[in-house]
Structure formats: structure tokens, C-alpha cells
């Protein structure tokens, strides 16, 4: 695929997502002129781009769609649920047509025209006609022009925008008017200079037309005005001279065209939904910024990141090679290099970061459609969408989050009647939020539904033979069962959330990213899933630990403190379940030698206290090898997943060190804590 085509698809996908977000925001919020304008501009740009690439069907469909949206833009019609659904279907249709251009070429779809007719019928307050599927050869023209005999007439003065471009061809725009009515007269006023003075991208000339159409004047204006900012369109209804509509670019639009590629800053009074939509528009619009950004393929960035990783390793080797004989200048140069390599790494990593809105923006539509399918009312609240995360992680989180949100709608949120009976609002809420803390990204999916029935979970665990009737595990342990392969209840399987991706797969996916997942729930009040993932998969600050001759790494962000271990200090309960007394607080002890299968030693070692999500463990080690940046290498590319290890890295001296999975260590520690609590 050539670069121009790739650029088209990149922009087209952004525009489709933008249209969907704006529609959803409009549906749930107050009408806002700027967001409606944005919606229209998306459709219009899409039309222009697809026409430029020669995708006639796409261009014609979006042409029809933009005309329909123009009525919304003029605030002449409200966005009813029926219309919203149809417009969202139209967005889906664009996706379909777009995909077909990749696989089959510019083939169109026979349902385009009926869909446009339905949209126009709803906008015009008509009862939608049953949709007859047109013949395959039916041209995908815009909505059928109404009979012109009794149609109103207008005098239109059209002064095109001053700059011509591949998209901006005034003659072509005028030609499109013929799809909507009849040009009765046309006067062309040319002001074209001799060749010596001609600028080929400047537009000289204007038109005055006598035009007959049954469509809204706003549609006419939209056709002429919007390919390029700065057109002046004057529409004068001939049967109502006093209602002359002079349409010029608004001050806002002029500012946008003159100074920045994105839309204007939203007014401070707009609703949150509208703000979200405008923000989405800004994001996509900014992505088209000419001077502010360039598109670079992800392969190139990945290659750059790999190279930086190798430089980090090489720099680490250089640092390790220092010894007492290293002269002062070399030491200074190595120190300086360390600083630059760190900065280089941070800057390259920042290139790979994307706001989580990139991922979150796909969920409003999914929630809307899933809730409608289940007859539930669900509102999705999104927070922290500006939080940035490595692109690879974002993509990998898509499936787990989709599953969790579907689950929340399917099993968490109650039907409206049940919620009302329980004194809850009919509309359930799912809150999707993201934030960064302690060098990790936290993503939370919280619902205000019925919560997890722990007794049912316990019974299922008994049935599976995982526990006995006499066992009464803690809530945390019961919740852990939800993530075990093979655990499900009949109620948890439906066509929506039982698609073969169980909670165990969700957990496995998150853990494969070096992350973890936990759940909290309160019966009748709701459930909260918390995903923790590293900021990036590539490089992290680690603390080197040693047992025997082996090196291990833990993420520096998880380290709380380290101190000399004295055997009298800890409380041994029985067997392997041990707790360490740290200033009066008992923390589960994990012996790293035991954990990795090495023989125990009589020598006292060091304790490193590790913490994650408020839970701590004490890790008994032989010694500390120091702090260093480490490049994460996946084990799973070559080996099966080994519990307790998040990956591996190459040390400065060329040896391989395993990176410990703190989540897994904490889980093991929790078992000790529960035993301790049971005995205590």
C-alpha cells in the first residue's frame, strides 16, 4: 500500500471514530453548535478525501450523509434516538465501505441508498418508508431530488473561498447542486487576470444562480461553503425577500482557518458530553495539523525503541566495565552518557505513548449497543482519558477491557425494573477511569450493579473441588477463583459476555503485559476491577537482587525499603508460612531461594519490602546488586509462561537476569497472611 493510501486510511479511521464519538456525545448531551459543526466537517472531509482517492461510492454516501447532517448543524432538528441510531448505522456503513475498498475495491453497498432515504425521512419528519433493497445497478446518488415544479426558488450568490485546491473546485461544487434541485439561471462573473498575473491556486470569479429546490437552503449553503473556509454564500428566497439569509463564515471559523488547523476552543458553558465530543474533535483535527505533527509508521518507532534498548544494554556494560583503574575523564564521560541515554530512552518512550482515549473512545458505542440489546439502561462515564500509555499496551488491553465492560453490562448492571425496586436509578453507571501512579498505569472498570455473589462463587469452588464445605476463604481468595481457568457459573454465560474469553483469559492477557488485575465487590452496590500495567513494556528502572550467584530484578517502583534480616525478628508460624515483624507490623515473608528452588542457607540475608496496591511482602534475599535501567525481554516468545516471573533482561556483564513478578509474589504472601490471621 502506498504512503498516500495509508495516510488516507489512517485519517479515514480517525474521522469515522470522531463522527461516532460526536454522535454519541450529542445523543447524551445538550446540543452544542461546535460539536454539530465538527460532525458536519467530518462527513465533509471524508467525502473530499474519498473522492480524491477515487472511491466514488464512499464519496457519494458521505455526500448524502453530510447533507443530512447539515440540518442538524443548523439546529433545525433535534437528534432523536431514532435519528441517532440511523446516523450511527451510517457510520457503520462508512466503516463497511472503507473496509471494502481495501479488499474488494470501490464496490459500494446496495443498502446505502435506503439508509440515506431513511435518515432524510426522519429528519424531514416523515414516516420512513419500508426499505426496498435497490438493484445492484442502482446508482448510489444522493437523496432523490424532490419534484421541482412546486419547489421554492432562491437567488444564490456564491463567492468561492479564495484558494483553490484538489478538493476545492467551485465548478464541481456547483455541479453538485444539480443533485438537489434545478439550476434555472446562472451568471458567471469572471475576474480572471492575464496569464502573467495569474496565480493558479487563487480563485477569481463568482456566480449568481436562480435555483429551485425542495431541500433546505442550509443544504445548499453547506454544499458550497464547506470544502474550503472563506466562501461567501448568500441565499435569497424569491418568495420571501425579507428573509434573506446571508451566510458568511463565522468569526470562529475564520479564526480556525487563519491560525490553526483545529476547531476553536469550546465555550466554557458547554456540557461535559459536548466537551468530550469537542475534545475528540480536537484530537482528530490536531492529528491533521500540518506543521505540528507528522505521521511515522509504528514499525519505525518500534525499531528506534529496540535500538535504544540495545544502547541501554551497551551503556550498562560500559558502566560495569569501570574499575578502580578507570581514569576520571572516562568516569565523567560514562556518567554523562548514562544521563543522555536515560533522556534518550524517555524521549523515545514518550513517542510511543498514546492517550488512553485512543482505546476508551471505542467503548461508548459498545455500551450503547450492548445495553440496548439487553434492554438495560447504562451510562458510561470516562475519566482520565488523557492518561498516556505505551501503544502496544493499549492495543493489548482492548480485549480485556471489552470483556470486563460487557460483563459489567450483562451481569453487573440490573434491568431497570430491578434497579427501581432496589431503590437505584433506572440507569446504571459504568465508570471507566485511568490514572498514573508510582510509575504504573491503573485502569478501573467500576459498575453500580448487583455486585458479585460470593456465596455462589464459594459453592462453585466447592463443586469444582477446589475447596471443601468447611473452607471459608476470604473474599479476595474467592474473587481470585473468578480468574481461574474453568471457573464459570451458568449465569455468566451469554451471547454477549460468554464468547470464549473468560476471566482467566482476561487475567492472562493482563499479566502477559507485566500487569495484574484485582477485583472488589459489594453485594447490591457494585463491582470494581482494577488493572495495573506498566507504563511501558520496553525499559524500566530495576533493583538487582542476588541469591547465591544468581541475579534477579524487581521494579524499583515496587521497592519500599530494605534492611538486614535477623532471624529472631520474624515470626515463624508453621512450615513455609512465615511473617516478618517490621516495626510492629507483620508482613508475609517470601524466601527468594525457596521461591526459585535454590537450597536454603544459614546465613542471614537482607529483607526487601515490596508493595503493590497497598499490599506488602518481605522478600528474603542474599544481597542487593544495585539499581539500574533494564530492558525487558519477554520470556513467552521462547518459553511458556512461568508464574512468578514477568520477563528477563540482559545485565551489563552479559548475564541474563529474571525479572520477578511482584503481583505473583504478593499473592503467595497473601496465603501466608491468611494462615497467620486464621491462627491469630
Amino acid at each position: 500500500m502506498d504512503s498516500l493510501m495509508q495516510l488516507f486510511y489512517d485519517e479515514a479511521n480517525e474521522m469515522v471514530e470522531g463522527m461516532e464519538q460526536v454522535l454519541l456525545a450529542l445523543e447524551s448531551g445538550e446540543p452544542n453548535p461546535e460539536t454539530v459543526n465538527a460532525l458536519f466537517r467530518y462527513a465533509h472531509s471524508f467525502k473530499g478525501n474519498s473522492a480524491a482517492m477515487g472511491f466514488t461510492h464512499l464519496s457519494k454516501f458521505t455526500h448524502g450523509l453530510e447533507s443530512a447532517m447539515e440540518v442538524l448543524r443548523k439546529e433545525q432538528r433535534t437528534l432523536t434516538p431514532e435519528l441517532a441510531t440511523l446516523l450511527l448505522q451510517a457510520v457503520d456503513m462508512i466503516r463497511t465501505l472503507l473496509e471494502r475498498t481495501r479488499t474488494e475495491g470501490d464496490v459500494g453497498d446496495p443498502t446505502c441508498e435506503p439508509l440515506l432515504q431513511q435518515i432524510n425521512a426522519v429528519i424531514n419528519g416523515e414516516t420512513p418508508q419500508p426499505t426496498a433493497v435497490p438493484s445492484a445497478s442502482a446508482p448510489a446518488t444522493p437523496a432523490e431530488p424532490p419534484a421541482v415544479q412546486s419547489a421554492p426558488q432562491y437567488r444564490i450568490t456564491y463567492q468561492p473561498a479564495p484558494t483553490l485546491s484538489a478538493e476545492h473546485d467551485p465548478l464541481q461544487l456547483l455541479s453538485e447542486l444539480r443533485d438537489y434541485g434545478q439550476v434555472l439561471e446562472c451568471r458567471f462573473r469572471e475576474q480572471i487576470p492575464p496569464l502573467e498575473q495569474l496565480k493558479t491556486d487563487a480563485c477569481y470569479g463568482s456566480w449568481e444562480l436562480l435555483y429551485e429546490t425542495a431541500f433546505e437552503p442550509a443544504i445548499v449553503r453547506a454544499l458550497l461553503e464547506l470544502v474550503a473556509e472563506g466562501a461567501e454564500v448568500r441565499i435569497e428566497p424569491l418568495n420571501a425577500p425579507s428573509s434573506t439569509e446571508t451566510v458568511q463564515p463565522t468569526a470562529t471559523e475564520t479564526v480556525v482557518a487563519a491560525s490553526q488547523p483545529s476547531v476553536a476552543t469550546p465555550a466554557p458553558t458547554e456540557t461535559p458530553a459536548a466537551t468530550a465530543a469537542t475534545a475528540a474533535v480536537n484530537t482528530a483535527a490536531a492529528s491533521k495539523g500540518e506543521a505540528q505533527s507528522i505521521r511515522v509508521s509504528t514499525e519505525k518507532i518500534d525499531a528506534l525503541m529496540n535500538l535504544v534498548s540495545e544502547i541501554v544494554i551497551a551503556q550498562s556494560m560500559l558502566s560495569s566495565a569501570q574499575n578502580a583503574n578507570t581514569d576520571e575523564r572516562t568516569r565523567a564521560a560514562i556518567t554523562q552518557m548514562e544521563r543522555h541515554v536515560r533522556e534518550l530512552h524517555e524521549r523515545v518512550m514518550a513517542i510511543r505513548l498514546l492517550p488512553v482515549s485512543y482505546l476508551f473512545n471505542r467503548f461508548p458505542r459498545m455500551v450503547r449497543d450492548t445495553a440496548a440489546k439487553l434492554g438495560k439502561k447504562v451510562s458510561l462515564e470516562i475519566e482520565g482519558e488523557e492518561t498516556e500509555l505505551d501503544r502496544t499496551l493499549l492495543e493489548a488491553l482492548s480485549d480485556p477491557l471489552t470483556h470486563l465492560i460487557r460483563n459489567a453490562i450483562d451481569h453487573g448492571i440490573e434491568p431497570p425494573d430491578e434497579r427501581r425496586q432496589n431503590g437505584k436509578p433506572e440507569t446504571g453507571t459504568i465508570k471507566l477511569s485511568a490514572y498514573q501512579s508510582e510509575g504504573r498505569i491503573y485502569i478501573e472498570v467500576r459498575d453500580d450493579g448487583r455486585g458479585i455473589n460470593t456465596e455462589r462463587v464459594r459453592q462453585k469452588a466447592i463443586q469444582l473441588g477446589w475447596i471443601t464445605e468447611n473452607d471459608h476463604p476470604s473474599e479476595e481468595t474467592l474473587y481470585d477463583f473468578l480468574f481461574q481457568p474453568g471457573f464459570s457459573t451458568a449465569q455468566q454465560v451469554s451471547d454477549l459476555s460468554g464468547r470464549g474469553v473468560g476471566m482467566d483469559v482476561v487475567k492472562r492477557n493482563v499479566e502477559s503485559l507485566g500487569g495484574s488485575i484485582s477485583v472488589q465487590s459489594k453485594r447490591g452496590e457494585g463491582t470494581r476491577f482494577l488493572l495495573r500495567v506498566p507504563l511501558t513494556l520496553a525499559i524500566m528502572d530495576g533493583l538487582g537482587l542476588t541469591v547465591a550467584d544468581e541475579h534477579y530484578i524487581v521494579p524499583l517502583t515496587a521497592v519500599v525499603e530494605a534492611f538486614q534480616y535477623e532471624s529472631l525478628q520474624h515470626t515463624a508460624l508453621f512450615d513455609q508460612y512465615e511473617m516478618v515483624n517490621v516495626r510492629g507490623e507483620f508482613i508475609p515473608l517470601v524466601r527468594l531461594r525457596q521461591f526459585v528452588g535454590l537450597p536454603e542457607t544459614d546465613q542471614d540475608g537482607l529483607i526487601v519490602v515490596l508493595e503493590q496496591e497497598g499490599e506488602q511482602i518481605a522478600l528474603l534475599i542474599d544481597g542487593i546488586a544495585g539499581q539500574q535501567q533494564v530492558v525487558l525481554k519477554s520470556l513467552e516468545e521462547n518459553f511458556v509462561r512461568v508464574h512468578g516471573f514477568a520477563g528477563a533482561t540482559i545485565l551489563g556483564d552479559g548475564r541474563v537476569a529474571l525479572i520477578l513478578d511482584v503481583s505473583d509474589l504478593i499473592r503467595r504472601g497473601r496465603q501466608s497472611a491468611e494462615r497467620y490471621a486464621a491462627v491469630a
Binding site: L164, P170, L171, L174, F188, P193
Partner: protein, 99 residues
């Protein structure tokens, strides 16, 4: 798109084929400049032209004006029916052939 220019001692004949989109206007402009640098009577044959961007139309207008200022005439052949309809409907054809 092709713009070909044939010349005799007294006359140019510029033949336009296919489509002249915005990207091709530069080529048309260059041909027009070539004509005006050494002006002669000129015939524009666009009977095989199927579409033209308005920027291209402007070049033809400008060429006509420049040549007329120097005392030379420009003759336009009939465009193909679709293009003619397109230009005629919006007054461009009539303005172009008026001199």
C-alpha cells in the same frame, strides 16, 4: 492527462486529453506560458477532454486575455457534450468564448 502543443510558423495547436485535475493545472499553466512567451494565434482543442478543474479553466481564460492583449486570437474547439453541459450550465463556456 496530456497537454500537447504543436506549432507552425503562424499558429499553435494545444490539444488537451483526459482529465485536468488540480495537480495537472501546473502543466497546463506551463504550456500557456510557453505560448505567451512567443505569442501566435492559438487553437485549443479540448474535444477529448473529459473533465477540468476550475483552476484549469482560469488558465485558459488568462491565456486568452494575454494573447488578446498582444493582438492574437484564441479559438476553442467544442468540448465533449458532458463537459460542455458542465461549463455551459454555470456560465463558464459562454464567458470563455466571448471575446
Amino acid at each position: 492527462m496530456q497537454v500537447s502543443l504543436k506549432t507552425t510558423a503562424k499558429k499553435y495547436k494545444a490539444t488537451l486529453n483526459g482529465e485536468i485535475g488540480f495537480a495537472e493545472v501546473a502543466m497546463l499553466h506551463e504550456t500557456a506560458q510557453q505560448i505567451t512567451r512567443n505569442p501566435k494565434e492559438t487553437q485549443i482543442d479540448w474535444s477529448s477532454l473529459t473533465a477540468i478543474h476550475y483552476a484549469g479553466v482560469q488558465v485558459l481564460f488568462a491565456l486568452r486575455k494575454s494573447l488578446e492583449e498582444q493582438g492574437y486570437k484564441v479559438q476553442f474547439t467544442e468540448p465533449n457534450p458532458q463537459l460542455y453541459q458542465h461549463l455551459h450550465t454555470f456560465g463558464v463556456w459562454d464567458a470563455l468564448i466571448q471575446s
